[in-house]
């Protein structure tokens, strides 16, 4: 299972730097480094021996088995190579970033993003399950968005980040589509199955569609033309991020995907004729553009695109040796390009410019950086004795004699040589103009080499370039063999890594590249003048920009049509839609079924009276809705009528709940109404009123018809199960309560959480908020300074203890008789609110010094931990247990764990209602310590005055 740890460790521990953020930059850098190092240690300590022994390790975690989704990881040679790059270079980048970021304020955030990205990238390369791969792939897109936009106070960074996310995100969607298509062909998302079923896949008619989608994902990620334009834009990222994402890791995800899937999908004509041309064109054109970049990071970005193009082309060719060459070039490119980015960052950091037209003469000022950057640039150009030369030679050789091209075989080597020429030219320009040319700008503060430890990562990487270049077989021979075997299996070719392969065509191509590249470099003034600014503005970027501009414009227009800031307008739209959808069961051919008369019961006096009261209350509310106090009172009539209906139709729990809630609602609205206008003005537009009336009547008719339709159908209920098992399973005879705290306990937990969230939102909305207390009522009469009614004040106090006693009783008996946590809580809250009403805010608050937020927290925790407790006994979440305990004098008392849960519900609901009431009660500005009742707005009084 340790395969799991390699990606998940950085991904799940990415928050650590954030937590340590206040402790300073050293701590956050160390924490990030240690997390990465732990993962690295697992990789080297546990997996390296197994991988080099040719074993493949797997790890499986069931995720959603019903959907066929697993988190499956594999550690083979290819995954190992990429893990090595991601973690090794990642560690160097963290060290480098520590110096680069210096005293940046948001360093913690940077390391957190970096770790998340690292984990996601490791997830991509170790995924066995393709859906898991896509998920990690998207995480790399998102985390790279965050890293590119790290300096989010600059427009360039924000635009670059948006563009990177837009392109790679769209590519990710294509990839998902492709994976689903191919997954359905073989009925599995496992990589091993795909490879085993290759012949089934490539023969299927859906293969081209799936392949194209997957390739779109790979090309966007690896910045292949025409999707390359996001990468230069992403150069607004902090340089450590560029060195990491844009040289060694994220952009390699695309080519990784190509080589990973090549055993399953590759080596077909379709694959060849899509991948090879894209790769070759990208390689040549990007190298050409790179020659004209003045920004050194821009130059390196286009160079990266070009090298990725070469690797893509090699994987497109699919010959075993081409794949070996591509893999070797991945290793080499990661080392020299990461070190070049770091060197560019050092230059930027010390000289404060990255423009080649302003740089120069750094050879004397920064000798160490000069040497390191020059060696890396030479490797990029493909100079012998450096690693870039090896893979370039192999790559050149592999472009020869492509039989699929037929008569056009010369095209591939020709294009590759052109790319080689340009890359020699831009490498020379980079090294020469930055370091060796005469300084063009005189600086007041001459730059100097950075601290030794900032150069250490560059030194390590450049050292690798040299070591691999001089002794390839010793340095990477073993690794390359393991990696290539994991991709090619039994197609493993004979090859040997050597510096000199004798006189062959590839050597001539190399020599040609150096000669013509040098020539172009020496004519660079004329070439630059000739080229001017013509094709440098990439047209793909414009197309992208136009496309998204249009999408955003259309979205804005549509939004504006639907959402014109008028609540009643779009409520009307919503209800009209609801009418259309909701009336579908009543459309002609089904109407007979719905409305045909079936068994009905005779009218009974009590329910008829209650129903009439209900309807009367609603109509009166409507009629009096401009006089708000009256409307509120009539609404209460309706509420009480519905409580009576519940009581009459065998639902005592509901009746109790409804009565208490009714009281709470009325008090809360009254409290608020004190600060709101008392009358609703008549709004001017009559046509809208008519339309609203029509909608309302239709909705009412619809609901009545629906209710009638339901009521007259025979009852088929699943309740028998609950009735039969409530006592035996849940240990209670009040079935409703047993359902709430036991069968559907998780729902209830969610519901009280929602209540707590509502209370917190109210606290947030009212915190620090003071409303002006009105001094006169709507008729202009001054408020009476009367104290609270004496009788109520006196009666309320003894009532409290009585109500509390009843509440405890109701809570305890709830499992077996009507009652329970909700009802007991509402009763308690009513009793407490009554104290506020009767004696004033100051009086009650002085005696009720609970922090109700804490009460809510305790209640939620109690409910949650009761549920978790059952896990300890090996039972599912929220399984209830019960037993009978003898208590002296009282007799056998039944105690169920569900009661603890109900107690949690009780505390939460009491806390929530009290938070709301207290918050609303004090917004007029009441001093907590002030016991004078006169100062307090008596919330009940508006009722009398209105």
């Amino acid at each position: 299972m340790s395969v799991l740890l390699v990606p998940l460790l950085p991904l799940l521990l990415g928050w650590i730097p954030l937590v340590l953020g206040r402790r300073g930059h050293v701590t956050t850098a160390w924490s990030a480094g240690l997390v990465a190092a732990a993962s690295f240690a697992i990789l080297l300590g546990v997996h390296a021996p197994a991988v080099f022994a040719g074993e493949v390790a797997f790890a499986w975690v069931r995720w959603a088995p019903s959907l066929g989704l697993d988190l499956a990881f594999r550690m083979d040679g290819l995954a190992f190579l990429f893990c090595l790059l991601v973690l090794g270079i990642g560690l160097l980048v963290i060290l480098y970033a520590y110096f680069y970021l210096g005293d940046t304020k948001y360093h913690a955030r940077f390391y957190a993003f970096l770790l998340v990205f690292m984990g996601a990238m490791l997830g991509v390369v170790t995924s066995e399950h393709m859906i898991g791969l896509v998920v990690f792939w998207e995480i790399t897109s998102v985390s790279s968005f965050l890293l590119v936009g790290f300096n989010n106070d600059t427009e360039a960074a924000r635009r670059g980040a948006r563009r990177a996310l837009g392109v790679t995100g769209l590519g990710g969607l294509c990839l998902l589509g492709g994976v689903i298509v191919i997954g359905h062909l073989v009925d599995s998302f496992e990589l091993s199955v795909w490879i085993a079923q290759r012949s089934v896949i490539v023969a299927n008619a859906w293969y081209p569609a799936g392949l194209v989608l997957i390739l779109l994902g790979a090309f966007t990620k690896s910045a292949q033309m025409p999707f390359h334009f996001w990468l230069p834009g992403a150069m607004s990222a902090p340089t450590p991020a560029s060195a990491y994402l844009h040289s060694a890791t994220m952009v390699k995800a695309g080519v990784f995907l190509l080589v990973r899937l090549s055993p399953a999908l590759g080596d077909t004509s379709l694959w060849f004729f899509i991948v090879v041309p894209v790769g070759l064109v990208t390689m040549m054109v990007a190298a050409y553009i790179a020659m004209f970049q003045h920004d050194i990071k821009g130059l390196l970005a286009y160079s990266t695109i070009s090298h990725l193009g070469l690797i893509t082309a090699l994987f497109g060719i699919s010959e075993p040796l081409a794949i070996v060459a591509g893999l070797l070039h991945i290793i080499n490119h990661a080392t020299f390009k990461a070190s070049l980015f770091m060197a560019a960052g050092i230059v930027d950091h010390e000289v404060h410019t990255r423009d080649l037209r302003e740089l120069g003469g750094l050879r004397r000022l920064m000798p160490v950086t000069t040497v390191l950057a020059s060696i890396a640039a030479a490797a990029m150009a493909g100079v012998p004795l450096l690693n870039g030369f090896l893979s370039k030679e192999m790559a050149f050789q592999e472009t020869l004699g492509l039989s699929r091209l037929g008569e056009m075989q010369w095209v591939a080597p020709f294009v590759v040589t052109l790319g080689g020429i340009f890359s020699v030219a831009y490498s020379l320009r980079f090294a020469w103009e930055a370091f060796f040319a005469e300084p063009k700008v005189q600086r007041e503060h001459p730059p100097h080499d950075p601290p030794r430890w900032m150069q250490a990562p560059v030194f390590v990487l450049v050292g690798l370039c040299v070591v691999v270049g001089v002794m390839p077989a010793v340095a990477v021979g073993g690794l390359l063999e393991v990696v290539a075997t994991s991709v090619l299996g039994d197609r493993m070719p004979e090859y040997h890594l050597a510096i000199y392969h004798g006189v062959n065509t590839a050597l001539f191509m190399s020599i040609m590249a150096f000669a013509v590249g040098g020539l172009i470099f020496s004519w660079r003034r004329r070439v630059l003048d000739w080229q001017g600014g013509g094709i440098l503005e990439p047209t793909a970027a414009n197309a992208y920009h136009n496309f998204f501009g249009r999408v955003i414009r259309i979205g804005r227009v549509v939004t504006h049509q639907l959402h014109d800031h008028s609540l009643s307008r779009y409520s009307a739209v919503l209800f009209s839609l609801l009418l259309v959808v909701g009336s579908s069961p009543f459309w002609p051919h089904e109407a007979r079924d719905a409305l045909v008369l079936r068994t009905t019961t005779a009218l009974q006096a009590a329910p008829v009276a209650f129903c009439s009261l209900l309807a009367f209350g609603a109509i009166a509310t409507l009629v009096f809705h401009r006089r708000r106090i009256w409307a509120l009172l009539f609404m209460g009539v309706s509420g009480l009528a519905s409580a009576l209906l519940f009581a009459d139709y065998s639902a005592p729990d509901l009746a109790l709940t409804q009565i208490s809630v009714e009281f709470g609602t009325t008090v809360l609205i009254l409290l608020a109404l004190y600060y709101l206008p008392w009358k609703t003005p008549r709004e001017p537009r009559a046509p809208a009123r008519t339309m609203h009336a029509v909608i309302a009547v239709l909705c009412g008719t619809g609901i009545a018809a629906l209710t009638y339709g339901v009521l007259t159908r025979p009852l088929e209920s699943i309740s028998d199960f609950y009735v039969a098992t409530s006592k035996t399973h849940g240990g209670g005879t009040n079935i409703v309560n047993v359902i709430l705290v036991d069968y559907r306990g998780t729902d209830t937990l969610g519901e009280i959480t929602v209540l707590a969230i509502a209370a917190l939102s109210i606290t947030g909305m009212l915190s620090g908020f003071r409303a002006r207390r009105p001094t006169v009522d709507s008729a202009g009469r001054a408020w009476s300074p009367d104290t609270h009614p004496h009788l109520l004040a006196v009666m309320a106090r003894p009532l409290l203890s009585l109500v509390l006693l009843v509440a405890v009783f109701v809570l305890l008996r709830g499992h077996n008789l009507p009652g329970g946590g909700f009802i007991a809580a509402l009763m308690t809250a009513v009793a407490l609110i009554l104290q506020f009403l009767a004696n004033g805010y100051g009086f009650a608050r002085a005696r009720l010094r609970f922090d109700f937020v804490k009460v809510v927290a305790i209640g939620l925790a109690l409910a949650l931990f009761t549920g978790l407790g059952s896990l300890l006994f090996g039972q599912p979440f929220l399984t209830s247990n019960y037993g009978y305990f003898p208590i002296p004098l009282v007799g056998d008392v039944e105690l169920a764990t569900a009661m603890l849960f109900d107690l949690g519900v009780y505390l939460t609901v009491v806390g929530v209602i009290m938070i709301m009431a207290i918050r609303l009660g004090r917004i007029g500005g009441v001093e907590d310590a002030e016991p004078e009742p006169e100062l307090v707005p008596a919330p009940a009084e508006p009722g009398e005055a209105g």
Binding site: Y675, L676, C699
Partner: protein
Amino acid sequence: MEAFFAAAIGIVAACGVYLLLRPRTFSVVLGLTLLSYAVNLFLFSVGRLQHGKAPILTPGVTDYADPIPQALVLTAIVIGLAMTAFVVVLALRMNADVGHDHADGDAHDDAPTKGVRPKGDRTKRARTKSQERRS
């Protein structure tokens, strides 16, 4: 009885919807509450109108009221209270911040209707012109 019950629910729902469509926040609160009464009663009635049945397990009784709709509606009632409180506080806060209780909030003053905007522009233009003249 069923028809009577259904009609009552329909009336409550119609009143609720109409109030919900009013432009003032307080009416919206009233409408929401009325509508939730109707919805709760409808949900409850899915277990049919069972007059005088046992809600509590009692030895010897086999015919019980349907407990599932009751359990659903119970939590719905309590959540309804929280939601009402939330909307009321929202209305309160908006009234204090914006200075009126029109549900369309800020946008009500400069509603982007075709009739209003050019007028606003014109006054602005006129103002800048007069400023120019003064200077």
